[in-house]
Symmetry: none
Subunit: 195 residues, 4 copies
DNA sequence: CATGAATGAGCGTTCATTCAT
DNA sequence: CATGAATGAACGCTCATTCAT
């Protein structure tokens, strides 16, 4: 008659990993720390995920899929490409404080982890990125956006969003991330709007 | 008459550190690897820099100062704030391929290093950031830019630049970073221009 | 059916540590040497004891408790304070050759180890010391001992005992430690006896 | 025109070594720390003393000779053996606070240094020890002392003295070492006096 | 006489990973 | 499914010692 729910130790491990990796980075979050945080034995991590990397990719996959769905759902049946971009990005901005720890990993910790960034992209962010590329192309086709290089433009948009998120995280959430995101989207859309 | 110049072993250590940290991250670039790459004993690193962190901050300081100078010099006696922003950012973009490894560290490796990011900012990037904030304020005063939040705007600009640089690095330099930077600056300036 | 009993590796580590620290001092007995002597991996030491210090304090605690018990047991229900002191000290002297290596640590190695001597006292020797202080006070109350400063007197007694033990150890056990201890206790008791 | 006296860097090294070894033990007092404290280069220590051990033995020799002289001088032309023992020991007790750091080395640090204790004795303490053995023999011949084992008795006397000195050092000099020494000598002499 | 750059062996410690139970 | 004892390789770092100058 365990107090803790018996089943999903696997989920507890993932949650513990998110919490610890976000705080201490991939290398700082040791498997023994993660095991302690999750209240399981160290061995169980390897039983489920094989390697530490496996745990990390599992975590990535789980959350990324969730966010992509959220993303697409929010855009809904809106038809105007500009509007869609705006909605998607604001959804993004609203999601960050809600799943702050996960985004801290994506924004702060992922790059220096030593893990293959292309492999990470394949699982994670690239999906959102391609969605935005599509929307910008749509806008150009609709004639509301200038004929910019879509890859560059999409990269710009994500850069703006994530750098503001990073600033928000590093400097103690001392401003409204949502307001900053609105400003960023505004700058972006004006910047690529058809004069 | 030794072939190797004496005394510049310190510099050789710094160069080796840049090369290896850019490739493998702060944790992946072990002191023993750095020593081997530099062709010195491991002990010498600690003789000169005290701790591994010390080597890292030395490296940061050396390059950051160099870049800040380059940055300011490029702007020169240009008086138009918009022009200044454009010049500074294009200089930035041109510097990246030249000192690619150092920028790889700044863009890819620094955040998850576990090192104090505020301390890093104090030494490094913050200087450039403040310079840009100043230029945007100038533009607003000159009446050529909208009254945007300057911190947010500067963050957007750096985000655009660095994400394009990151894309350039990760995807094998398959496009012209300078062109992408021009496009990014164009989007940014149009985005914050007074309508 | 392994020849080595399982699980008592912890004890093997402690025994190896006693052997090596007694011979080479705290710093001379490196963890790798201890591991080799115990026939375990170096990592296991840290698995069980956390730090080298932890191993040392574990060892201290284990033996100290054992000796305090021995000490008190030997005194038994004897009522005469002088007799009690005599018995306790002779027990002490008899224990030394039996657990020679541990006493070598206590007498020869502990002070210069750089470890907190007060912390060590709290775990170890102080218990015996306080026991003797109590007995001397008892003797004074019983009227069989002069009104000496009890702390000084107890210190004298331990000094006599340990210096003879040290001489015994350093000069190759070339005399009977028990005889020397008897002589020492005799000198001490005559010295503080009520004229 | 150096501010520091030019000549005796050798002496400065010895003084620095005494200061640091007394505080941090033989292993804790690294040659680089000693060099810094003495205001000389690390290399000079090895230039003068060959090895770290050499410095230590030099230091030992210098002070030990000084103390033996002091010892003998204090006894002077006193003829009564008991009186001589008393005088010698009180001189010892008075010397300790004066040359506290050196005695801290002798009492606290020397044993765990890993250096050959017999070699140390040959240079240092043994001289005083033999002097006391001689005085006790004298007392027995004079018929004022019991026929005790002189080695054991001398060991007892030194043990009493040094343990009180140790207690004095460890517990913050919270009592008069001279008074304790008087008490110790008193106990000792009563203890070996001819009834 | 004096420096301090340079070394290399070895230190305590960490950690992902394995495996018998 | 779950444990945690056990490992071994590698880590950052220290330090006595050497040696060219």
């Amino acid at each position: 008659m365990n107090v803790k729910k018996p089943l999903d130790k696997k989920q507890r491990i993932i949650d513990a990993a998110i919490k610890l990796i976000s705080k201490k980075g991939y290398h700082g979050a040791t498997t023994s720390l993660i095991a302690k945080e999750a209240g399981v034995s160290q061995g169980l991590i390897f039983h489920y995920f094989g390697k530490k990397e496996g745990l990390f990719f599992s975590l990535l996959k789980e959350k990324s899929e969730m966010f992509k769905e959220e993303f697409e759902k929010s855009v809904g049946d809106e038809r105007n490409a500009l509007k869609k971009i705006e909605i998607a990005m604001l959804t993004h901005a609203r999601l960050i404080p809600k799943e702050e720890k996960f985004f801290e990993i994506m924004i702060k910790q992922i790059r220096g982890s030593g893990l293959d960034i292309k492999k990470i992209n394949k699982i994670g962010m690239l999906k959102s990125y391609k969605l935005i590329v599509g929307l910008i192309e749509e806008g150009i086709e609709q004639g509301v956006l200038r004929k910019v290089d879509v890859e560059t433009a999409a990269t710009c948009l994500f850069g703006m969003m994530e750098y503001n998120a990073l600033r928000w995280m590093v400097f103690g959430k001392s401003f409204s991330l949502e307001d900053a995101a609105k400003e960023a989207v505004d700058i972006f859309l004006r910047g690529i709007a058809k004069s």
